[in-house]
Symmetry: C2
Subunit: 307 residues, 2 copies
């Protein structure tokens, strides 16, 4: 089997595109005709909302799957529609995988021991049924996680990563304005994010793949280019998931430091791609086409700075 992060990197290299499309389908982003069809079929219910999300996602995945290596569904936008929304999340992941895409489930999950194991089994691995047989409830390739609880929160994931060839991305330096309230504070002269980053290096040290990157990646925001560059140097075996490009203000130059020898990171855009048709004031039926054009523009923008 191929190590999970290698699968992602191979897709990035093959498509010459180190980006991931965020699937954060707010109802506001979804064309009216899709929502009308969902209401016609299911009334004004959570199920109708979930169906609209799913049809929107399928349109985006179809338009992106041959040029963008990965998608990143954000759990919150599915959970807000209850079990129906979570079913849409599971179906979206299955559809993207069937189309050959690498799926990063953005759940920022965190807990300890057997509870973290339950998240690992649910999102990345297999769950045991009453008769002892196994099923894959979600089947993502990687899961974002929060390391505030320390090794007890990460080790249960490492077992699943090893057995099932999956990956995780630990929050290190997030893209939001207030990320520094804790993450920039100094511990023995070094910021919290650097200490978290070093823990990622250590958690991943016995699961390194052919490109040198481990199953334990890190989330580092495009909105902090200096820290991104500094962390690329300090964390040579940690692959980066970089949010904050586009809508949050980060540009291509800001993410350049995340790369070394042409690899090292995958840069996310959610609203920029999902809402490209709105920004360009195109007909809503052109949403998928507009998303593809924006994904190509983003790819070329980022590849222009990748070293």
């Amino acid at each position: 089997m191929t190590m999970s992060m290698d699968k992602l990197i191979q897709k990035i290299v093959a498509m010459n595109n180190p980006t991931v499309a965020g699937l954060d389908p707010k109802l506001d982003f979804i064309p009216g005709y899709i929502k009308e069809k969902a209401v016609a079929g299911y009334g004004n219910t959570l199920k109708a909302a979930a169906e609209a999300l799913y049809e929107f996602n399928v349109g985006l995945i179809d338009a992106l799957c041959d040029i963008v290596p990965a998608v990143k569904p954000q759990c919150a936008y599915y959970e807000m529609y209850g079990a129906e929304g979570v079913d849409c999340l599971a179906r979206t992941i299955r559809y993207a995988k069937a189309k050959g895409m690498y799926v990063i489930t953005d759940g920022k999950r965190n807990d300890i021991g057997t509870t973290m194991e339950a998240y690992a089994k649910g999102h990345l691995g297999q769950t045991q049924l009453i008769d002892g047989s196994f099923v894959e409830p979600f089947g993502g390739d990687a899961l974002t996680v929060n390391g505030y609880l320390g090794s007890d929160g990460i080790k249960p994931l490492l077992e699943t990563c090893k057995q099932q060839d999956k990956g995780i991305f630990v929050l290190v330096k997030t893209s939001n304005p207030s990320s520094g309230e804790l993450q920039d504070r100094l511990i023995d002269g070094r910021p919290v994010y650097e200490i978290m980053g070093e823990m990622c290096e250590s958690w991943g040290e016995d699961q390194r793949g052919e490109y040198g990157y481990s199953a334990v990646g890190a989330v580092v925001g495009a909105t902090y280019p200096e820290q991104l560059t500094e962390l690329r140097e300090k964390l040579p075996h940690t692959f980066f998931l970089v949010p904050g490009y586009g809508a949050q203000g980060g540009g291509a130059q800001d993410v350049a430091g995340a790369f070394k020898d042409g690899i090292g990171a995958v840069v996310n855009s959610s609203r920029g791609i999902m809402c490209a048709y709105k920004k360009q004031e195109l007909d809503e039926r052109a949403f998928a086409e507009a998303a593809r054009a924006e994904a190509i523009r983003m790819r070329d923008d980022i590849m222009s700075v990748v070293k």
Copy 2:
């Protein structure tokens, strides 16, 4: 409307019982006859597993609702059964609320901006459907959250807390052995958990209720009694959710410091209550009765040290 944390404290005072029963229903904990019935009805499916979880939860809630003020379902144990499991979570929350219990959804969710709003709406508030009407997907009274991302991750919740009279519990000092890897490190001479605790005081300062506690509580483990006592002094407006009693090793004396003038905390037990029938080697049909007896023992044990 009554502020959420006041509702919890009122129930605690009325029942003279500052404890919460964790609903972490692993299949291993569930009596065989419940699992057999679920398989007979639904085959060996995720649905059958979810039904077994639900019937177990209903039995526990029925046995506990007149003596225990709150339940704390742990999301991971439901998510691991996919959308069927998440539906069981939603139904469990509704059932516990119908029985008058306060529900703390243990999701340790964290994100920023509109994404955190989506979690807030989904778990504590209301979600807007396609026609603009609102539904309550989960309806918990409080949600556990992780503050690593700073204020951008907490402020979207505060709005829902204020509008819907809900609460949150932020991870401050967790009960696990490795919690100190980050949480005990010193920033300007003070541990990370203390800084996180002070952020809780500040986030909650304009949402304080009649007992002086705000809508922003903190998770502080029973396994660190000194820190618990120290934080009770330093965070006078922050109500504590205390895991780690029982199975994780904390005893009544360890949680004594979490209380001041008889209130200040709610102590969780999950396995101790759920698996009481196993520990006492009772017939599995006595699971609910055994859970009740253990809940009474725990209540008396903790009330014996509450100051």
